[in-house]
Symmetry: C2
Amino acid sequence: MGRWEPNASGRLGRAAMELYLERGFDQTTVADIAERAGLTKRTFFRHYADKRDVLFIGVTPLRERIMKAITQAPADLSPVAVLTLGMQAGAEMIQERPEDVKLRQAIIDAHPELQERELVKLAGLAADMASALRGRGLGEWNARLLAETGVAVFRVAFARWVANSAQGPLTRAVGETMAELAPLIAEG
Amino acid sequence: MGRWEPNASGRLGRAAMELYLERGFDQTTVADIAERAGLTKRTFFRHYADKRDVLFIGVTPLRERIMKAITQAPADLSPVAVLTLGMQAGAEMIQERPEDVKLRQAIIDAHPELQERELVKLAGLAADMASALRGRGLGEWNARLLAETGVAVFRVAFARWVANSAQGPLTRAVGETMAELAPLIAEG
């Protein structure tokens, strides 16, 4: 078998998700995934650190899409509008493959060590968004506050969408959840 | 040495924090901590799972204090006022020992695996606060949204206070940060 396989990463990713769905995450080995993809274990480990890693491979392009939307947003938008735009750009990417996303989330929800890894990724996303908001002129602490709040909104919107995606796309859930927060907070 | 030592948990905790400050967290062993406290390693392991565990032992009483303040808050307060009251009750507990808290945070900030554990604890706190807010009649998704936002506010307020506690107590930083969020979000 040759060293470079065309689209090995994508083939391994799809094979892994199929097997996680069929057998369960715990019952699937790296050897199983490689076999299903028609590749070797060595090829698997050229692309992924372990079988958990497959579940987080989408995080980097997602973050890039969000960051691009924030940095390229029109200059006259308010910080919260820019943040919402960024999160909706990420939401668009997620809702393209709803079944994969929901399967992935069900696996993560069932494994505390995967939830930890997801929390770390979300904390990294909050830090990046804060940095992008500072880059647009928002003060240090307001940028952190808005970015951390944005992740809170995104998590809740995502959970709502996973629980009932018949109610509409994730982009809408993000916008609606952000709109619901203002009156909730202003009541104090 | 007898099986039960008076206040062994507290003595070990103080000895650990002293050594983390003097030698650094990585250079301190469980044997060092037990020796400094005048106790045995066996006694240490009766109270703590490992040397990381010492840093998180305060989380349970902190959570209990926050939950008690939320569940006992006057019935006529708005959900955001109840949440702020709960977080300020927690803040009171934290600001009683500012030097310990700051040393602890510096250790956590320097160790990714401790940051993970802290993120997990904060996610658990958000879930508990959401449950307490539901118990006061707030709807499922609004309760989650408000609780997750509360943790975001608390994290930023805490970081501000650690960076500059001369500006006032943590309780005030929590109230001010919550008050700053409303106009930031409403701009959209």
